[in-house]
Symmetry: C3
Subunit: 115 residues, 3 copies
């Protein structure tokens, strides 16, 4: 059996779960900033940090699912995404509108990466 | 090539697919109960059963995506989740609101687990 | 470290990412057709093509997530799905309603497959 490693284990979820060479992150949100571009940048920074601690990095992201509270913010989200994503190493991506767990959350990003 | 094993194969989907050491479950729903806490508990029981048949268990869930027909039921869903999830072995989790395939469905849970 | 292969690499995303024996596709959409059944068939054809180039095929799909702009089109989407899916090799599937990146998109399908 492949060992499973979990990071930032809470009572309800872990922020990252590593199994073999695959890393699953919890959907990342951040309400410290009030606009979509800023929230996206903050969320992507959290993803960088979690991936680093899991032994991965944005260059190794396989799949990203982006949830927008309002799909009209697609372009504003992409401003932060395009500035961040690793050229030549972009993940498979899906973007959709969804109401998120708290009204302050404008964007949530879940990724699967390789170690 | 790694062998693929499928459980409860229907004409449209399988309820579980096992490939190597990874188990993918179809989104689980249950309309036998009329409230979110009860539906979540029923869905999590279905997940337990499918994982057991696939050679896995809730302690080995890597990732869970929870779809709520109404995100205002977040706390009621979590009542069942918190009572069920394995302390110290929580998965990466993402929760969002989404209209589901039938109006009776209040919650749907999709998981990826290790064997 | 397992090598990562990416297909149709754009500035924002790749259409397919292969890591070891697992293939992740970007959410596939197609607005060349105006109805859900037609869009679903077009999207499934794109999935066939991407999987073939990645060394996989629909018989090896592990998981599919289907996003419908209007869940009332569930039956129309399934007309194309049921005609396409490989009998005996159906994936684990989750279907939900979600507003998609452009209003012309009626359906989006994201899959994870084995090579």
């Amino acid at each position: 059996m492949t060992a499973i490693q979990r990071l930032d284990i809470g009572p309800r979820m872990s922020q990252a779960v590593v199994c073999g060479e695959t890393v699953y992150l919890a959907g990342q949100v951040n309400k410290d900033v009030a606009d979509v571009t800023g929230q996206t940048a903050a969320v992507l920074k959290q993803i960088d940090d979690l991936l680093a601690r899991a032994g991965s990095s944005k260059e190794k992201i396989l799949s990203a699912t982006i949830y927008l509270a309002d799909v009209k913010s697609f372009a504003d989200m992409n401003k932060a995404w395009d500035a961040w994503v690793s050229a030549g190493n972009c993940p498979a991506r899906t973007t959709l509108e969804a109401k998120l767990a708290a009204p302050e959350y404008l964007v949530e990003v879940a990724v699967i990466a390789a170690k």
